[in-house]
């Protein structure tokens, strides 16, 4: 495992490396796993479609294909455990219990979004469900996760922090720094690398000298294991044990989940770096389909019951779209909200100075609206990806296919 392999070999290792089938959990649990994975799948498909319609702007990173890694992990976490992730975390938030309506509204940049439209697709966050955020800086979440784990440890609480990040993040300085610190301070944290074989368009063996990522933190005192990230039950079993190690024994560990994203890195990815056949091969072991098939084969659920779950996912997601579409745009005079804790002070007070209302854009609430709108309109003219109009133009040719997508 420690020798570098080609992508095709890596993929093979994953396919062949599947352990003997794990026993299915009880029917309610099985149903819930399938329901959550199906909801995420449908949500992501629809998010891609809405992006095409220019309802969502910026970048859009879809996790289609990675549902088992997400749901396998969250299904063995306690409600008071912390989860922190990357810019590909619509599904992680939903799996933690965040209402898909609020996630979709955030993609739409509306007031009912998880961050009130300030974060967007890459920055979903919900404190109530202890989903501590999606982040746009690769590797930036690792120290944050250690800090959250430190806060639990410091306060004598037995909550665990799970930090999910991509294979690309294992090359950042934060990876080494945080692994060392977490092992040194015996922090209750589980690091889970969602190895989907590509850091954007650079394949694993082209970006990491050590391609067995489960070994990559050993030198820092954080042992690791590899798990088939396409198998929700395998992920559950492994992550549950590693959460236990963190909670009960204060042993931080690294779990490498071997998974695959069917779509491009973002919706603006022409996917010149991989063959269509490779995508199709991974789709053969689709995490949602294989699990549904098994539930039917073993008589846990009937085909009708599985179909009901799909219909429920469809309803949930379409309601989310409807909700997001109906949610208002943020008021322009909210531009400075949440920047500082300022008590009774005027929003934006610290931004320059409250006593110069006519000099600086957005300085007073009275002035903020007009000036912010001017700035917004001017900004839109310069914006590249995500600029209004671009999606509409490209979308008209074929609204089903993301820019550059070729599934």
């Amino acid at each position: 495992m420690a020798t570098p392999r080609t992508t095709s070999e890596s993929k093979q290792a994953s396919v062949d490396g599947a352990t003997a089938k794990l026993k299915l959990p009880d029917k309610d649990t099985s149903r819930e796993l399938l329901r959550t994975m199906a909801t995420i799948r449908r949500f992501e498909e629809e998010a891609g479609r809405q992006y095409q319609k220019a309802k969502a702007g910026g970048f859009l990173h879809l996790a289609i294909g990675e549902e088992a890694t997400i749901v396998g992990t969250t299904s063995v976490m306690r409600p008071d455990d912390y989860l922190i992730g990357t810019y590909r975390t619509h599904g992680h938030a939903i799996a933690r219990g965040v209402d898909p309506k609020r996630v979709m509204a955030e993609l739409f940049g509306r007031v009912d979004g998880t961050s009130g439209g300030r974060g967007g697709s890459m920055h979903i966050f919900d404190l109530e469900h202890r989903f501590m955020g999606g982040y746009g800086i690769v590797g930036g979440t690792l120290p944050l996760a250690a800090g959250l784990a430190l806060s639990s440890d410091y306060k004598g609480e037995d909550t665990v922090t799970v930090c999910m990040f991509g294979d690309g993040a294992s090359n950042t300085g934060n990876f080494g720094e945080t692994m060392n610190l977490s092992a040194l301070w015996k922090l209750p944290v589980v690091f889970l690398v969602e190895n989907n074989l590509y850091g954007m368009g650079t394949s694993l063996e082209r970006h990491s000298a050590v391609t067995d990522l489960s070994k990559k933190a050993e030198g820092y005192g954080v042992p690791g294991v590899r798990v088939d990230g396409m198998d929700v039950l395998a992920v559950r079993e492994v992550v549950a044990e590693h959460i236990r190690l963190a909670r009960e024994e204060h042993k931080p560990t690294l779990v490498e989940a071997f998974t695959y994203r069917y779509r491009g890195h973002s919706a603006a990815d022409p996917e010149v770096y991989r063959e269509k056949a490779e995508v199709e091969e991974w789709q053969q072991k689709d995490p949602v389909e294989t699990f549904a098939t098994r539930l039917i084969e073993e008589g846990v659920m009937s085909p009708d019951e599985v179909e009901e779950i799909r219909e429920e996912a469809e309803r949930t997601v379409m309601e989310a779209v409807e909700f997001a579409d109906a949610s208002p745009e943020p008021e322009l005079d909210s531009l400075y909200d949440h920047l500082y804790v300022v008590g009774e002070q005027v929003p934006g007070w610290y931004a320059v100075d409250e006593r110069s209302p006519d000099t600086h854009p957005g300085e007073s609430e009275r002035d903020a609206g007009r000036r912010a709108q001017e700035l917004a309109e001017r900004g839109a003219a310069y914006a590249g990806p995500g600029a209004p109009g671009r999606h509409e133009e490209e979308g008209q040719s074929d609204p089903e296919i993301p820019p550059g997508g070729r599934e």
Binding site: F125, I137, G140, Y154, K155, H338, Y340, A351, D353
Partner: protein, 329 residues
């Protein structure tokens, strides 16, 4: 009221806040067993133990990042970065995370963290340990920036910083750690941010200085009075975000002249920002262009002779003040 050094005043601020709030803790490189690279955390490990005074590996970005995460988890970390230059290794955590998180998550979570760091030249520490990067932090929305020049201010402002729910960049000056001053003993005394101090009253020219340049400006003011009959008003903003622009503008409206002094670089500096604000809001009151006295536009040199040439001195401030008064007397 007792006379203490700046480093002791800062240490006392941390100790008092740690005594009153168990969620306050200190971490950084060599803050514990070593007692702090500049001995600012001296004695804290003995009193509070390893849980609350945490020596860290040399991992600046992760140290600050752990602080951000811990703050999000409900603690109040006080992170020490050994010198301001090392904070550049942590800029991702400071700018992309600490400053952005409250805003980009719609106010759901706060980052009540203080990042302390000393800067400034004068000790021949060369181009990687001597810089003055206040302007870099002042530019970031989401951060508060404090820069105390006296032990009393150091203590009062640091206590406020620790109690504040916003991320605070707390900039200290290496040359001021040994400076003595009167510090009130009252543990409840805090100093609000955004409240400038008038160090010396005068009617002829306003001199604004920060950190060690406050003392240098006061020296210059004495020379101006004794040798040139010029009465300078010396103002120390004490915090740069929020900025007490009122006090500065009131002074400029009185003196009609302004000189801004900092050790940092001229381009995009604290002085550049202040000069812009003054001319925007008190243009009609200005009788002369705003003068800036800054550090030389070079990485800080090692040679004592060159280093001193790169740092503003009282005579530079005197010259700038006289230039602003040219033709007026």
């Amino acid at each position: 009221m007792g006379t203490v050094r700046m480093r002791e005043a800062l240490r006392d601020a941390m100790a008092e806040e740690m005594r009153s709030d168990e969620n306050v803790f200190v971490m950084g490189e060599d803050v514990g067993v070593f007692q702090g690279a500049f001995k600012v955390t001296e004695g804290l490990l003995d009193e509070f133990g390893e849980k609350r005074v945490r020596d860290t590996p040399i991992s600046e970005n992760s140290i600050v990042g752990v602080g951000v995460g811990a703050a999000m988890g409900g603690l109040r970390p006080v992170v020490e970065i050994m010198t301001v230059n090392f904070a550049l290794l942590a800029m991702d955590m400071i700018v992309n995370h600490a400053a952005a998180i409250p805003y980009m998550f719609g106010g759901q979570v706060r980052v009540p963290m203080v990042v302390r760091m000393p800067g400034g030249g004068g000790h021949q520490l060369g181009p990687t340990h001597s810089h003055s990067l206040e302007a870099m932090f002042v530019q970031i929305p989401g951060l508060l920036v404090a820069c105390p020049s006296t032990p009393a201010d150091g203590k009062g402002l640091l206590k406020t910083a620790i109690r504040d729910d916003n991320p605070v960049i707390f900039i200290e000056h290496e040359s001021l750690y040994g400076a003595r001053g009167e510090v009130p003993d009252d543990p409840d005394r805090v100093l609000e941010f955004g409240d400038a101090a008038i160090r010396r009253e005068g009617s002829d020219v306003t001199i604004v200085g920060i950190l060690r340049m406050v003392e240098t400006a006061e020296q210059a003011a004495k020379t101006l009075a004794a040798e040139h009959g010029v009465e300078a008003e010396v103002i120390d903003p004490r915090t740069l975000r929020p900025l007490d622009l009122d006090t500065i503008l009131d002074s400029v409206r009185k003196t009609n002249r302004a000189v801004i002094v900092e050790e940092g670089w001229p381009h995009g500096g604290v002085g550049a920002n202040l000069a812009a604000l003054i001319q925007e809001q008190a243009f009609d009151h200005l009788d002369a262009p705003v003068q800036r006295v800054t550090g030389a536009d070079v990485p800080m040199p090692y040679s004592k002779r060159l280093e001193q040439a790169a740092i503003p001195h009282a005579e530079h401030i005197v010259s700038a003040a006289l230039a602003s008064l040219e033709g007026a007397r």
